[in-house]
Symmetry: none
Subunit: 248 residues, 2 copies
Amino acid sequence: MSPSPDRAADGSTDRTAGASVLVVDDEHAIVRALTAALEARHYRVTAARTGHEALELAATMTPDVVVLDLGLPDLDGLEVCRRIRRWSEVPIIVLTAEGSDRVKVQALDEGADDYVTKPFSTPELLARLRVALRHHRRSASDDADLAEHQVGELVVDHLHHEVRVAGERLDLTPKEFGFLAVLARHPGRVFTHRMILQEVWGEAYGTETQYLRVYASQIRKKLAGRPAPVLVTEPGVGYRLVDAADGS
Amino acid sequence: MSPSPDRAADGSTDRTAGASVLVVDDEHAIVRALTAALEARHYRVTAARTGHEALELAATMTPDVVVLDLGLPDLDGLEVCRRIRRWSEVPIIVLTAEGSDRVKVQALDEGADDYVTKPFSTPELLARLRVALRHHRRSASDDADLAEHQVGELVVDHLHHEVRVAGERLDLTPKEFGFLAVLARHPGRVFTHRMILQEVWGEAYGTETQYLRVYASQIRKKLAGRPAPVLVTEPGVGYRLVDAADGS
DNA sequence: CCGCTGCGCCAAGATCCCGTAAAGATCGGC
DNA sequence: GCCGATCTTTACGGGATCTTGGCGCAGCGG
């Protein structure tokens, strides 16, 4: 490609900035050095000193990546790795003093995503951290791709940004689409005026209820005569989307 | 998630068995040793000796993972890495003799997923290979990682960096190519302004929507009068590429 | 019975967004 | 250092969309 101005040679400015990192190590010096280096790159850093603390924090703060020293006072580092892997796929970068192949291989097979031996080069660790975040970001966005809501014969397809009724494409303006998409997220449930306005128009528009009347009307017009759900008014409260066939 | 029955301690029997590996190195001894080690684990191995050969094979055989030596006779290894990343997210494990930090960091930021210095420990390399395969397995469901994408009569060939319509080469500028290539990766799907801008121009350009209008216009002009797909505008949202023949 | 309130609906501006052309600015090759 | 290709920026017309005000209606309480 062309030389992008945003790709710094050291990768310090990239989309991984601002991610939260859990650093697990009992050596104070290491924690301090790592924290400093990471915060300088605008990561949010949390430190844990023991295995149990690490497990606790991994669960409560849901970090974007974990840097894990294997030599912990209470639990075996490998055990920590294994336990996190039981419920989370957060990237784990293992850090260790000894360079034994056996441990290295075991850690990687146990669910670690990378392995760096001490003494480590900080730039290298940071680069590997960016790799881990890159991966995680990718698989996370894959999950979000599956967004599609169905209400009776009506399908709101966020991926293609279109609405289909009985398979036929329905042509909506951006605001109309937004309105309908909000309601379709929870069929039958009431959304207040405020909720819809703030979601579609923005935070500041919480009271412009006349917009809703206009757009509700237009949406109903476009849905009329089709085997589609009905846009129901909840007087004084808001709107909801109800499948014509059932009375939920 | 749950403790997998396929996770043996030495990793010899796991779900990654049978995967295809592309080994890129000009040293015969390394290739021989690696091939032997990999085939013993029932991987399918293909070897490339030069950068160009590597790119060609990466495109035609779509390996599950690439092991890439940076010291190649024709192309810089980093360049190979970059070119593969233009169209594929196949895991790349970089292999190199020199241990310079700068190169290491650069390779990782350039798209490499891991980095091993020679002389390397075979068990470790194999373990890292398993990690790479584990990662990619997650998002291997889509067909975005192909060197060629076809939409109707239009073919985007990432390897040769060219576009053909009905077999005839279409002359595009780099930005035009990038724009079209993004859309062709998922025909019919909407790409938001932000997505396209960040992919083609860079992270920092997420709001420069006037570029898109200019280039959309130019691309349409070049596609006009040919049996090509149509570049459709989704007002307020983005663009998508639709085969003229069908309505997807 | 009457006024008030909230809603549906309409239609006229106002505004935003898009497409297009064309003029600088920039870059790379010769 | 010039020249051509490409990228960036500006400007403008047209059209779709959004916003706004108004009107009629129904329900409700005074």
